[in-house]
Amino acid sequence: MIETFILIERILVGAIFLTGFGSVIFDSNLVKKIIGLSLLNSAVVILFVLEGSRIGENTPILEPGIENVVDPLPQALVLTAIVIGVCVTAFALALARHLYISTGTFDIDRIRSQVHDEN
């Protein structure tokens, strides 16, 4: 069975994840959706690193005398995932900015109706 402490940590990470996801679908402001996406990214990153650290005690730098390190693979994977997330967020923000400049609003429903009228 899972210890209470570990369970609480996992539930917290799950809460961050769901907050981010909720923000992406419920908020009508584009910037808030993008922030939600960023939250989703962070939640997954934390999950990987957190869970990977359970099997050891030391940072995975093998200085003389160090053993019983944590799992280095999740950390390597999330390095890539973080950078990819940053790039996608940057491009999304550039798109949102462009839409704001041409339509004057960040609200997705109003932008959709404006685009619909344009077509």
Binding site: P60, D71, A76, L79, V83, C87, L95
Partner: protein
């Protein structure tokens, strides 16, 4: 009516997501230790880096790292295409009031120090918890400091977007060459070149760290400068 459907859709998405996330997060099995054991045994001997995370993303899985530098390259290209330099987002008056002498002086003076720190993190990535990415990000923030600290007309040559573009392209090309040379000298894609030349394998890791650091630093720096509308 459409609004009711929208709310129904959102609520059901969230609940289903909660169910799936819960199913995965509440798994009671133990975290597998095979990879940790393998890298503890072999990592330093295979790649020369005592930082095991570096040994993974610059050694065993360097191909993924290449993919991620490609995403950075594309991110910069895409953002640059959308944000036209000179277009006003906020009013000019608002922007001026955010600039104070303190900001100019402090960031301008701190900039070079941050850059040096970034280089330190890049170079020593194989023995400390640093590396190409981390050093690159610090490097990018150093560039932002320099840009913020410059007065309107005086821009440090490091912060000019043409320089950063060229640095980015060059670092990417060199990274690709480092990958390909491995293919030609019989160690496979991204194989450890230094071992072929008889040098300690850590040299290759350091080289990759520097290239990645420059690539990431110039890309992220360029991204920040574009979005801050300070790209010149």
């Amino acid at each position: 009516m459409a609004k009711a459907w929208a709310i129904f859709g959102s609520v059901s998405s969230l609940t289903i997501a909660a169910v799936l996330v819960g199913a995965i997060l509440l798994d009671p099995s133990d975290w597998p230790a095979q990879i940790r054991d393998f890298t503890e045994r072999q990592g330093v001997a295979d790649t020369g880096a005592i930082n095991l995370v570096s040994s993974i993303y610059l050694g065993y899985r360097a191909y993924d790292t290449l993919g991620e530098t490609i995403v950075l390259l594309l991110g910069v290209l895409g953002t640059l295409g959308l944000v036209h330099v000179g277009e006003q987002f906020t009013g000019g008056a608002v922007r001026k009031s955010l600039r104070t002498d303190f900001l100019n002086v402090a960031s301008g003076k701190l900039g070079p120090i941050v850059l040096v720190f970034g280089f330190y993190v890049m170079f020593f990535g194989h023995v400390s918890p640093g590396g190409g990415f981390q050093g690159g990000v610090v490097f990018a923030s150093g560039l932002v400091f320099l840009a913020m600290g410059s007065r309107d007309a005086v821009y440090s040559p490091l912060v000019r977007s043409s320089f950063l573009h060229r640095l980015e392209g060059l670092a990417f090309l060199l990274l690709l060459l480092a990958a390909i040379i491995g293919v030609f000298t019989n160690v496979g894609l991204f194989g450890n070149l230094a071992r072929q030349l008889g040098l300690p394998p850590a040299y290759f890791i350091v080289l990759l760290n520097i290239l990645i650091g420059l690539k990431v630093g110039s890309s992220l720096g360029l991204l920040c400068l574009i979005l801050l509308e300070k790209a010149r």
